[in-house]
């Protein structure tokens, strides 16, 4: 039986019941961490996963760093300081997740499921009522294609068990534990997330999707993702979904590391729509080598507070980085997003497009950094951030930073703040669209540079979600 399990696992648990394969023989070891974070909990997490000694040591060092590091003094300190670290469960196995009652799921979320036409089984999964979601037949054929190409696409836990060498070489090299308090936290208690390795010269034409069609582990609080593209390869990874995702875990702190070796191309698309109780504090960073290209396509629709600044370090000549991000903040939401581009080689180029919308007192912030190291001539960077405020109550801030230590560069930055134009509304309404329909259309147009980069089904869902938001029928 174990040989068959490994065969299946080497293509990843796409759509499978994770607990069946991962912990079958550990069932007798019932574990649920108590609240709060201690060394004992970290040790238990590591031993439950049967991890090599070096990973346990890594976790413990990270824990030390986490406990010592102060909270950041910037950003929405009011909200950050209200996080009660003592009152969080740092590890719960999905098979032991107490199944929530469908009746407890907020009404607004159920209504959105209705209006978006989310199938029954998916609703229960998104609402956390069931921990698993059945895979669809289509994924079986994708798995065979990947196997044939030699691509590794596994959950991180399994990846560590089966490809320890690759992971040991790259894990934490892009985002060290000490990078910030939350990367330290993740490094101590990470669980789940994806491991992707693409062999040299291989192009993975189908986007690798790690969203709800996989399983609860991949939507965990402390996912750790590592994607390595060998020279000349291409991969597009997508996570998240536009449908609202209800989580009682209030702190989500993922770490995503991308390594784009020379001539390779990685595109990473995220759409998150976490419920409004979630703090979503993510560290995402990529390293792009000579002639490599990395794109972060980042959609922030949900959560109470998101702090996320996808970064790209351009370390080889002619490397290219792009961040295309949208943020939508409604009542009681703060989307604090942006990007960081670090030019550390000559003739590197970067582009940041940030589009945000605030409504009903919501708040969006753009926090961006463009840094050019000395001796990087020919570097070019273009930043465009547009904010749309839908009413008087809402707020938008921009905090751009430029640290340019090289003379031969071209750096452009353009920022606009506007409200929905009256003349635009009148024009659309004079052609029969109601005010809500017209506003939704203008907003969809505002987000269009982002939406056109999404696979079609996501784009369609996003447009519909925006129409719902505009009709005021979604809280």
């Amino acid at each position: 039986m174990s040989a068959e399990l490994i065969q299946d696992q080497s293509i990843g648990n796409i759509g499978n019941d994770y607990s069946q394969y991962g912990f079958q023989d550990k069932e007798d070891y019932i574990f649920k961490s108590g609240r709060g974070l201690t060394e004992e909990i970290v040790r238990k997490i590591s031993s439950m996963k049967n991890e090599p000694e070096w990973m346990l040591k890594y976790r413990l060092r990270a824990l030390e760093i986490f406990l010592k590091k102060p909270m950041p003094k910037w950003g929405n300190c009011g909200l950050l300081d209200s996080i009660d670290f003592e009152n969080i469960f740092y590890f719960v196995r999905s098979s032991e997740r107490s199944e929530k009652n469908w009746d407890d799921v907020p009404e607004g979320i159920k209504q959105t499921f209705d209006r978006l036409g989310i199938p029954e089984a998916e609703r229960k999964f998104l609402a956390g009522v069931t921990a698993q979601y059945e895979s669809e037949v289509v994924y079986h054929s994708i798995r065979e294609d990947l196997l044939a190409q030699g691509v590794i696409f596994l959950d991180m836990d399994t990846g560590l068990r089966e490809h320890e060498d690759i992971i040991r070489k790259h894990f934490g090299t892009v985002i060290p534990a000490a990078d910030n308090k939350f990367s330290a936290l993740n490094s101590a208690v990470w669980s789940g997330g994806s491991f992707v390795w693409v062999p040299e010269g291989v192009r993975v034409e189908i986007p690798l999707q790690a969203y709800f069609r996989i399983n609860a582990e991949n939507m965990g609080q402390f996912e750790r993702t590592l994607i390595i593209a060998e020279p000349g390869s291409y991969v597009h990874y997508i996570e998240g979904c536009t449908a609202p995702t209800y989580s009682t875990d209030s702190l989500h702190s993922a770490v995503v590391e991308l390594i784009a070796k020379p001539g390779s191309h990685i595109r990473y698309t995220t759409i998150q729509n976490w419920s409004k109780n979630v703090y979503n504090l993510v560290t995402k960073r990529a390293v792009a080598d000579t002639d490599a290209k990395v794109e972060w396509v980042d959609g922030n629709l949900g959560s109470k507070l998101t702090m996320k600044y996808p970064a790209i370090h351009l370390i080889g000549e002619r490397a290219h980085g792009e961040v295309l991000s949208i943020a939508f903040a409604g009542e009681d939401q703060h989307q604090d997003a942006g990007a960081k581009m670090v030019h550390a080689a000559p003739n590197t180029t970067s582009m940041i497009v940030s589009k945000s919308i605030s409504k009903n007192g919501g708040r969006t912030s753009y926090r961006g950094l463009v840094k050019v190291h000395p001796n990087c001539p020919g570097s070019k960077s273009n930043v465009k951030c547009d904010a749309l405020l839908l009413d008087e109550k809402s707020r938008s801030d921009t905090y751009p930073t430029m640290e340019i230590d090289e003379k031969d560069v071209t750096i452009e930055h353009e920022a606009t703040v506007s409200k929905v134009g009256e003349e635009q509304l009148f024009y659309l309404m004079s052609r029969g669209l109601t005010q809500d329909e017209a506003t939704a259309m203008i907003i969809n147009g505002f987000f269009e540079p982002f939406t056109k980069e999404l696979p079609l089904e996501y784009a369609v869902e996003l447009n519909r979600l925006i129409q719902l938001e505009m009709s005021g029928s979604v809280g």
Binding site: G421, E422, F426, Y427, R431, G432, L433, N444, E448
Partner: protein, 256 residues
């Protein structure tokens, strides 16, 4: 034969923008099958009339009313008016970045017709009208009015009206900025909107377009209202004698 109901009946319409009264008692009746032209100088209030008819929120009616198909539309929103069969071709159509022509036109047609037109049927109609109006296929994917030349914008306005088939089409200086070829094509499009059940209200500065879209009724607009009305030959007289002639003619009777 029963008396026909006017399609549009504007009764003593007064309207202001930002506390300035622009329309000072407009009276106008348009019956199905008719083509009317309103001519006047810049600043006479012609565009204000078209915006007020269409229900722009900044244009506030202070007195009088507008009846369309016998229904008082004075308090209706622009989209309600559109769905009841009124349409306005703008003088300066605004750009909507990120919204493609095809998406917008389709949404608009569905909204006004009150149901989703099947894609195939819509595409056929759309292509047909585009051909008639000389609108190139590549416009479908472009963002509406974004970077369009004046002539392109005007053609697109008429294209939309051709698909919406309004009972009353109000055309606000559609001729401005058009070269002779564009003028001919656009005029043909306007004439195609006209049939015994529909009517056209052409607002213009110059006589030129009226050579191609011939009105049965011409009204002169001055100081926020219609000061003189006549048949088609009135426009030619205006062209020959200028607007001053009208003012001079009116002053003795104390109308201003």
């Amino acid at each position: 034969m029963t008396a026909k109901q006017p399609l549009l009946s504007v009764q003593n319409l007064h309207a202001k923008v930002e506390d300035k009264e622009i329309l000072k008692g407009v009276n106008l009746e348009i019956f199905p099958g008719e083509v009317h032209a309103i001519m006047g100088r810049n600043g006479s209030g012609k565009s204000t009339l078209s915006y007020t008819l269409m229900g722009h929120p900044r244009y506030i009616v202070t007195e009088g009313k507008i009846l369309f198909k016998g229904v008082d539309i004075t308090a209706m929103t622009p989209d309600e008016r559109a769905r009841s069969g009124l349409a306005l071709a703008f003088q300066y159509p605004v750009a909507i970045p990120g919204v493609s022509v095809s998406n917008f036109v389709r949404a608009s047609v569905n909204a006004v017709r009150g149901k989703d037109v099947p894609i195939k049927e819509f595409r056929t109609e759309l292509k047909e009208q585009m051909k008639k109006l000389g609108v190139a296929n590549e416009f479908l994917g472009r963002y509406i009015n974004d970077g369009f030349s004046g002539g392109e914008k005007k053609r697109l306005e008429i294209l939309q009206l051709a698909l919406l088939k309004p009972a009353l089409a109000v055309l606000d200086e559609t001729d401005s900025g058009l070269d002779i070829d564009a003028l001919k094509t656009v005029s043909e499009g306007i004439n195609n909107l006209s049939n015994p059940e529909t009517a056209i209200l052409l607002i213009t500065h110059y006589q030129r377009i009226l050579n191609y879209v011939e009105p049965q009724f011409v009204h002169v607009f001055q100081d926020g209202r219609i000061v003189k009305s006549g048949g088609g030959e009135l426009s030619k007289e205006l062209e020959a004698r200028g607007y001053d002639w009208v003012s001079q003619e009116l002053t003795p009777s104390g109308v201003s």
